[in-house]
Amino acid sequence: MAALYRSGSLLLLVLSLTALPAAAAKPEFKIEIRNHLFEPSELVVPANTKIKLIVYNRDSTAEEFESYELNREKVVMGNRKAVIFIGPLKPGTYPFFGEFHPNTAQGIIIAE
């Protein structure tokens, strides 16, 4: 177990060192979840730029923001927000959906 703790704290150290250069400001975009729908369901973002997407969940139940095209997956708790970093994306369209309510919660990100 001691070896485990040591390797764990070493990993933490390595991780915290890599975190240092990532403080630059990125364009922010906001999406809301309301009644298991995304608003807006279509979001235009700049291509080849890393963006900060903030998802506000206005429902009382949790949702999972998910996109295979964007390689992103994150639980957004009810009445909370979640921060998701995306890109840089090549120009194109990237569908996303709410995994917990995929029949209604659908949206698309357009990078241009």
Binding site: A22, A62, Y68, N71, M77, F85, E99, F100
Partner: protein
């Protein structure tokens, strides 16, 4: 809604079921009692309820990327424990009781941590429908179907492994463990990219046209070898580095055991 819950629960259960079945098969051939798995599942379920009920708090850590960081830490811990387990398993020839206990402890940690990460999502999903019986019943039914399929797949792997020739099982199991472990390392890298703790890059390749991640085979391969259709260089490096590191360390420990036995 029924189908959604089948898929969500199946996705989460499949990965844990595969790890459990490989570790159970290895326990059988090493003469280790299988009772550790009850502890592991119990601890994992308890941990996932605790984690699920604290997800809102965890989410706010590290400027809103707490979920990614904690999940990555869980994945890295599973990876490290799998490496220690595989190396230790390869190094112990005739396992005595003390060795068996250590191996059991390692497997318990691996399985319970793997369940915490996957299980918490199931609880969060189900919790959204509690109190609405018209929806909750079909969702729970779907969830049980999904869990049943996942557990059956695990049982299939377990019996397939045990029906192989005895001397092949450790080699194949090690490769399977290495694939699962590499998937954990790749996932951890992806989560830290999503948290902006690791650099995000253009994808190395995109095989989503040939084998979409959301297809049945894509999902199976995701659970088995951590398949990603469009990984970035950092992610691929974590995956392949993690794979080779585990196999290399196991080979080294086998070699040292052999030369020790010969000399």
């Amino acid at each position: 809604m029924l189908l959604t819950s089948v898929i969500i629960v199946l996705r989460e259960v499949l990965e844990a079921a595969l790890i459990i079945s490989v570790l159970l098969a290895l326990s059988r051939i090493a003469g280790i009692r299988l009772n550790w798995v009850r502890w592991a599942i119990g601890l994992g379920v308890l941990g996932s309820v605790i984690y699920a009920s604290n997800t809102a708090i965890v989410s706010d850590w590290f400027d809103g990327v707490g979920q990614e960081v904690i999940n990555a830490l869980l994945q890295i811990s599973v990876y490290v424990c799998l490496v220690i387990f595989a190396v230790y398993f390869a190094a112990t020839h005739k396992a005595d009781d003390a060795n068996k206990q250590r191996l059991q402890a390692l497997m318990t940690v691996v399985v319970s941590l793997a369940i915490v990460r996957e299980g918490s999502e199931i609880f969060l999903y189900l919790s959204g429908f509690v109190g609405d019986m018209t929806q909750f019943t079909p969702i729970l039914t779907g969830g049980l179907v999904g869990a049943g399929i996942g557990i059956s797949a695990g049982a299939l792997v377990y019996y397939l492994l045990l029906n192989l020739k005895r001397d092949i099982i450790p080699y194949l199991s090690t490769v399977l463990l290495a694939s699962v472990a590499a998937g954990m390392a790749g996932q951890a890298a992806l989560l830290l990219i999503q948290a902006d703790w690791l650099p995000s890059q253009q994808a190395l390749w995109d095989s989503s046209q040939w084998l979409p991640e959301d297809s049945v085979s894509g999902q199976l391969l995701y659970a088995l070898i951590g398949y990603e259709a469009s990984p970035t260089p950092v992610q691929a490096a974590a995956y392949f580095g993690g794979f080779l590191l585990l196999l290399g360390l196991v080979a080294l420990s086998r070699y040292r055991r052999k030369s020790h036995a010969d000399g």
